[in-house]
Amino acid sequence: MATGVIDRLTSAALEELQARYRDRWRGVVEAKAEGRPVVGFLGDVPRALAEAAGLFAVQVTAPVLAATPDADLYMDDILSPETHALFQAVHDGAFSGLDLLVLTRAYDKLFYYLKEGLRIGLGAAFPPLHMFDLMQSRRPAVETYNRRQLDQLIDQLQRIGGRSISDAALADALQRQAAVQDLQRRLMVQRRRGVVSGVEALEAIGAGRSLDARDYAHLLAAFVDDLEREPTPAGAQARLLVASAEPLDSPRLHALLESAGAQVVAEDDVWGSRAADEFVTDALSPKEALFQAAWRGAVGAGVYPPEARHAWFDREALADDVDAVIFYVPPSDRMFGWDYPQLKDRLDRAGKLSLLIRGDVERDKTAVTAQARTFVASLPKRAAS
């Protein structure tokens, strides 16, 4: 898949991270076996809260290309394949082992369908649901509402965990999270140095969403240590940044781009580079720090104003060591496309190359592969370092 030094890299820690990334449910099974309650998250929910409540948290994702007959019966085609797949998975009992499934407002449509599914008797295998409706516009007008949303989430997690979330437990969890993010930032440095492929980086970061924070920190530290021992490769791959309309919860797009001969060095997504975003706050309590980070540090299509939504992109995409930007906007997109012309215009004015992929990386794989190969081949050759 990848080329150069990346091919030669062997790391037991990476292998374990990859295994955990690919088998995201393993941690759930282990936690259940230990009698530990399990909560699933759809969207960006503060993991530190779950940890402080003694819960095992897993990020829930949609099965790719699975048939969705029951979802298709009720859900319109305008809703994304991800939404159909998630409804089908919940309907089929894929998440029945969860003690609670928390959905964010990015999944409001799915929430409505699941609520109705419960009402009309389809919910035999549904886990209990909770909507964490944290509005992502950074305006004082929504602050009180958002605080109430966080309080309600805390109440639910405490109830499931059977214990209250103390300041000390939350402070510990936040500290561990900060340490993990520090490791992720070190990983980002190694990506830019070219010693780890985009696929591997995505897997290493994403594994943190289905692992206990302590275990994850341990594995990630070992992996980053391995990377930092590697010499800088002499490879000359084109370096890409990905901006996607869909959550990058699988490495499919990265694999396709890297098989075309490029390296993905960053992505504007919490499954990748944005997981390491540092949010600095002078909040006096751990809960307040967590609230500020969840609200004002949020990442995603719902963030307002657009300047906040695009700040990371504007900085990273124009970096000298990024050769080109890939905009992945599959047919299901109803939102990102409004931002695309402005983002592309900024790149054009800076002389930065970009590619718009409108096909679905799985459903239109042949065409997308050809498009990626042609584009990567057209990029100016990077001088070997």
């Binding site: 319109d76 909507m131 516009s137």
Partner: protein, 437 residues
């Protein structure tokens, strides 16, 4: 500039004029043209600030501040009615906005972006001073960016405790229906809108005037409620749906004004007169159909031909029914809070699973509907269709864009509707009547 498209547009306008049955349709059009010409003159010539708002925005605030405004979907509808949606949709595509993005409100943006077009609907739009839309409606922010206007976004809270029969609570029990927390967060955002609007208007909002306006809107919606009742209970349809929809939305976009209240009363009077005097749209009425979801604004006359051929009439759309079930908020002392309640779930209640289906079925039964026509483009339609089909009301999933005529195939669409009436609506009605015997 003239050409084949203009000739077709002219023919279409002539046909539309010939089919117009309601006197209020003429007075509405005259008023709107005069109003818009006056607005343009005041903004262009006198530099008066004006606002652009989304459909889910409390325009009453602007009305109370004497700020002229237009609604983006109204202007998009105007573009569609002039058969210019294909041009502007293509133009958006050329600017990089892919065709999967909704054009429902974005045609207003397109007209503003297309600065050199010589034939804009009603002369085109002046640049606004303030834009307010739902935060997810990105075209609104783009309009503000393009014109240098201030922008106020609105975010609707997720509905966590749905009441399937919401329309029974919305008029008086709205605090229970919408929930205090959700109303509060809308209220806080409306305060931001008030502050931004006061800045543009150069004066403070008079809350007593706003209260009067909200009361007037409630009276206007009550007239619409009567219109719905007449249409639902009359033996046959007294007014064509295209005219009813245009009338309702034409008035809604001016709600709170004396003109809107008067026009709503005249509308009610004319519908009542037609029903009392058995002035039916289609004397040979056989089948009663309803719109599910959006209306076909790009071709409102399309369904009229099915009157002659099959005795099929369209009796019901969301637009009239939501006017009373969604807009009315009675019994409150704080007009801003009443407005906040209205917009916590406005529009979404028509298609949230469970809520949309229950309402559509209730409406279908009330209007004695034989079949439904579901225009694609809204999430939630399929579940509404399931609810109707389970009650033996067949539904046609109509693959057409509400405002964008780019891919419209007239012959194919006619054949599709004809087949639906013959193969599904007629047998279902016969079965229902046989069961009654």
């Amino acid at each position: 500039m003239s050409g084949p498209d203009d000739a077709r547009g002219q023919t279409s306008r002539e046909q539309h004029a010939a089919r117009t049955q309601l006197a209020v349709s003429h007075s509405l059009r005259t008023y709107q043209k005069d109003w818009f010409a006056k607005l343009r003159a005041e903004v262009f010539d006198q530099g008066r600030p004006f606002c652009i708002g989304g459909a889910l925005v409390p325009h009453e605030i602007w009305e109370a501040l004497d700020l002229p405004f237009i609604t983006d979907v109204w202007y998009s509808g105007l573009v569609a009615a002039r058969r210019q949606s294909a041009h502007y949709s293509k133009m958006l595509g050329e600017r990089g906005f892919h065709d999967g993005l909704s054009r429902y409100s974005a045609l207003t943006l397109a007209v503003l972006l297309d600065e050199d077009h010589p034939d804009k609907p009603w002369g085109g739009l002046p640049n606004p001073s303030l834009v307010c839309t739902n935060v997810a409606d990105r075209a609104g922010r783009l309009i503000a960016d393009h014109t240098g206007a201030a922008y106020v976004p609105l975010e609707m809270p997720v509905l966590q405790r749905p009441h399937p029969e919401w329309w029974r609570m919305s008029r008086w029990r709205w605090e229970d229906l919408d929930g205090a927390e959700r109303i509060d967060v809308m209220l806080e955002q409306f305060k931001d809108l008030v502050a931004a609007s006061e800045k543009v208007a150069g004066k403070r909002l008079d809350i007593d005037r706003l209260r009067e306006l909200v009361d007037r809107v409630n009276r206007q919606e009550a007239y619409f409620d009567e219109v719905r009742d007449i249409i639902a209970t009359s033996p046959n349809l007294p007014a064509r749906l295209g005219e009813v929809m245009s009338q309702v939305m034409g008035i809604q976009w001016h709600r709170g004004t004396d003109w809107a209240l008067d026009q709503a009363r005249l509308f009610r009077d004319e519908i009542r007169h037609r029903a009392d005097h058995q002035m039916w749209c289609c004397p040979n009425e056989q089948f009663r159909l309803m719109y599910v979801g959006q209306g076909l604004w790009q071709n409102l006359d399309f369904f009229t031909e099915f009157e002659e051929r099959y005795g099929a009439v369209f009796v019901r759309s969301n637009y009239l029914s939501i006017a009373s079930d969604g807009y009315l908020r009675l019994g409150g002392r704080d007009p801003l809070r009443a407005l906040a309640s209205r917009y916590t779930t406005m529009s979404e209640q028509m298609h949230i699973p469970g809520l949309g289906g229950a309402w559509a079925l209730h409406e279908a039964q009330r209007h004695r509907v034989d079949g439904g026509l579901s225009i694609e483009g809204w999430w939630g339609n399929r579940m509404i269709n399931v609810a109707l089909e389970e009650a033996d009301i067949p539904v046609l999933n109509f693959a057409a864009d509400a405002v964008d005529a780019t891919n419209w195939d007239d012959a194919k669409m006619r054949a599709t509707v004809a087949e639906f009436i013959e193969q599904r609506v007629a047998p279902a009605k016969a079965k229902r009547e046989a069961a009654r015997v």
